[in-house]
């Protein structure tokens, strides 16, 4: 059974109004998008549905927000598949937020492709919290002077499999990209981070940095990390890093030496590891919900 996300664009109620309703659990619509011009007026947007999926254009200098929520609690087996392609015109800014909390037998595949025109920017925050199999794909093509920030957090437990595939393709000069994906894997879960950064021949002065950090909490959990770089220009600054490990022993000891029991300390540190990604969300009101979900997932105790 396939569930197509509902595409609903609020004409009247803005995202700021929608958030409290969402936090209360009143509104579970899956896609929210809105844009404002520099003078504050709302820009009407329309999502076009084609055979290959949906398309959206953000006009020049507009500031847009796109929220994708996939929350279904059913126990039945189903699959979610969504495709969205976005053209971000010159100097426009797109903020993207995605939360995946699918049912325990759900298969989720969401694909987002963004093309940033000159000096356009994308800031994306993705949270993968629940689902039997999640495949989160993000492709960003960065134009001249474009800026792309991709943040993500995946928390997998039980036998969940969470994969993230990102591609950042710098097509033109002076682009910047920053990518940080963190994963926490427990029990028999599997996490995969597959991040490719391409710097094309003309993309001189590109400044790109990519990091993937993983915490393995059990001996059956598996972390896979493939940070890849394809560089065809020479006047660039590119780096990537990846770590897979466990809770920092020094930090753990520090907490324990201050009287915090080990189990407690461990949870605190796991929470802190993940928190960074929630704190980096610019929309403060969305953070609250995420913190709740995070503590629920790893049963954080204490305060």
């Amino acid at each position: 059974m396939s569930v197509e996300s509902k595409g609903v664009i609020p004409a009247k109620a803005g995202i700021q109004d929608w958030i409290p309703a969402y936090n209360r659990g009143d509104d579970k619509s899956s896609l929210q998008v809105e844009a404002h011009r520099p003078d504050g007026t709302v820009v009407p947007l329309s999502i076009e549905t084609t055979a290959e999926g949906r398309r959206l254009s953000i006009p020049e200098r507009a500031q847009a927000s796109l929220i994708e929520i996939y929350e279904t609690q059913g126990n039945e087996a189903y699959s979610t598949q969504t495709t969205l392609r976005i053209e971000v015109a010159a100097e426009a800014r797109l903020a993207h937020y995605k939360l995946v909390r699918e049912g325990p037998r759900a298969d989720h595949q969401s694909f987002l492709e963004v093309h940033l025109q000159r000096a356009a920017s994308l800031e994306s925050h993705v949270f993968l919290f629940d689902g039997a199999r999640i495949r989160n794909t993000l492709h960003v093509r960065v134009g001249e002077g474009g800026n792309c920030v991709l943040n993500g957090l995946y928390l997998a437990t039980a036998e969940q499999v969470m994969e993230t595939h990102t591609l950042i393709d710098h097509l033109k000069p002076h682009g910047t990209s920053r990518e940080l994906y963190k994963g926490i894997l427990d029990q028999k879960a599997q996490g995969l981070f597959d991040g490719l950064i391409v710097v094309e021949k003309d993309a001189q002065k590109t400044d790109s940095s990519q990091t993937n950090k993983n915490l393995l909490l059990s001996s059956d959990a598996k972390a896979k990390s493939n940070p890849e770089l394809k560089i065809l220009a020479n006047d660039v600054k590119c780096k990537h890093g990846s770590t897979i490990g466990q809770i920092d022993a020094a930090q753990l000891f520090y907490l324990r030496s201050r009287g915090i029991p080990e189990e407690e300390a461990r949870k605190l540190l796991i929470y802190a590891f993940a928190s960074e990604m929630i704190e980096s969300l610019p929309v403060v009101s969305l953070r609250e919900r995420l913190h709740q979900l995070l503590s629920g997932k790893f049963q954080k105790g204490g305060g």
Partner: protein, 482 residues
């Protein structure tokens, strides 16, 4: 016949090596590959019986396999049936009559690298009448090694003199069915080195292919096996900085290293295979399977390589860290200039407890060169306390070259720690100007900066190799900054 005379004959004539008790005509092996050819090879080399079955099994496996194709490396398809798998060894007088007949370009490089005339002759296959010095040098070392119980000889000799020893270890690390080129190599390998260092012995000299009788005629399918028994140590140098040309385009070697408890093997390579002309034509395809097994506890295997040649390099020296506390290291400088394509990297497989691996890869791309690092780090469940640190840096010297990094990391053990970093940079204008203002020419400045970039790797090389490596790098980069 005196000892030295016999040694000289060994060096200069191949007749003795191959032996004559054979019904098959020496030079009549046609091109192509089938079971008969494999049999013929076995027969010519007078190998023990078990080798026939071993080679045939490998061949039969090869026939079922498909040639691998890597997305990042392009080459014209190889017609395996058109190659000749048994090259008749050069008889005296067949090579160039003198150094004057050797390609001036090659000679120019020899001179720049400071290679003595005698060595140049040896390397070019010029018939040498009496290299008394080289012969006596070779025999002196052989004597020293013999006293310590170290066996170091060509693979073909090892199969004749120490078959049980070879049989015990051959294929242990790279089984014939491991990959396409390993299977091919196992079926048709021509020669290579065999080294066995007994318990507790530290090999006092750097072993090198130079001392192997037959240095000038490095075969296209080499098979090398080095075993360090408990507590042993050996350092092996492969290759040389002199540009090696060969009419054989395809080189598919297999190198197996085995380190027992508390043993250590250090394997250093400098390869400057002919990279082809500026258009990339005629270069050598270098496909090598190199693998080390840290079998014993506290064992250590280090791979250090400087690759500046060959049209296409495809090699991933690996370490399987089986013994507890074992250590695997990989230090590499790979240069891709003009139209070269290098696809190199390493695999570190952590199985035992408290194992450690270090990967330092420095890639330099210039001209139209494409340099790819392909690494794999796998930490299996149970490999408690495993530690890996990888650093892959790329230096881009032109705006037409490329540098690519594809590390694949898989960790299944919660107490393991893996850290990978990669940076890309170019020689920056400020650094160049700083050097020039201090009177250092652009060319010298570039060499200095590139050497600084490679320093972490160069300092792992045995000293004379390090000096040669620096020279080699600077020659290879001539004219690349403009």
């Amino acid at each position: 016949m005196t000892q030295s005379n016999a040694a000289i004959r060994d060096l200069t004539s191949q007749d003795y090596k191959w032996g004559f008790v054979s019904a098959i005509e020496m030079d009549a092996i046609p091109a192509g590959l089938n079971e008969d050819i494999v049999r013929a090879i076995w027969q010519k080399k007078q190998e023990p019986d078990f080798m026939l079955e071993w080679r045939l099994k490998a061949y039969r496996h090869w026939v079922t396999m498909k040639e691998p194709h890597w997305a990042n490396v392009q080459y014209a398809p190889i017609d395996y049936q058109s190659l000749s798998y048994y090259a008749a060894p050069k008889k005296r007088g067949e090579g160039p009559k003198s150094l004057d007949e050797v390609d001036p370009e090659v000679r120019r490089t020899f001179d720049k690298l400071g290679i003595s005339l005698e060595e140049q002759k040896l390397l070019s296959g010029v018939a040498v009448d009496a290299i008394i010095d080289s012969a006596s040098v070779a025999t002196t070392f052989q004597k020293q090694l013999k006293e310590l119980g170290i066996i170091f000889c060509p693979m073909s000799e090892a199969l004749r003199e120490h078959p049980e020893l070879v049989k015990k270890y051959l294929g242990m690390v790279v089984p014939p069915g491991d990959n396409f080129f390993a299977a091919l190599n196992s079926a048709v390998f021509s020669d290579g080195s065999f080294c066995y260092v007994p318990k507790g012995v530290r090999c006092p000299i750097e072993l090198s292919t130079y001392f192997r009788i037959n240095a000038a005629n490095t075969g296209q399918f080499e098979r090398t096996l080095i075993v360090a028994d408990e507590g042993a140590y050996v350092s092996y140098l492969e290759g040389c900085t002199a540009p090696m040309r060969d009419t054989n385009q395809l080189h598919a070697a297999v190198v197996e290293l085995i380190a027992m408890d508390n043993a250590q093997i250090k394997y250093s390579t400098i390869q400057n295979w002919y990279p082809g002309d500026k258009e990339g034509k005629g270069g050598i395809f270098n496909f090598v399977t190199k693998r080390g097994l840290c079998k014993g506890v506290n064992s250590k295997i280090s791979w250090t390589q400087v690759e500046t040649g060959s049209a296409i390099t495809w090699k991933y020296p690996s370490c399987i860290l089986k013994g507890d506390n074992s250590i695997g290291e990989f230090y590499s400088v790979a240069l891709a200039n003009h139209r070269q394509q290098a696809d190199t990297g390493t695999k570190m497989i952590h199985v035992g407890k408290n194992t450690r691996s270090t990967i330092i890869s420095k890639g330099i791309s210039a001209g139209y060169g494409q340099n790819s690092y392909r690494g794999m780090v796998r930490i299996f469940q149970g490999a408690a306390g495993a530690r890996n640190y990888s650093q892959c840096d790329s230096l881009l010297m032109s705006d037409t070259c490329g540098a690519h990094t594809f590390p694949h990391i898989e960790v299944n053990e919660p107490s393991a720690q893996m850290e990978h970093e990669a940076t890309t940079s170019k020689i920056n204008e400020d650094q160049l100007f700083y050097c020039r203002q201090r009177g250092i020419s652009t060319e010298d400045a570039v060499n200095m900066i590139v050497n600084g970039f490679c320093r972490q790797v160069f300092k792992e090389l045995p000293m004379e190799f390090a000096v040669e490596a620096q020279k080699l790098l600077s020659i290879s980069l001539e004219g690349s900054v403009g």
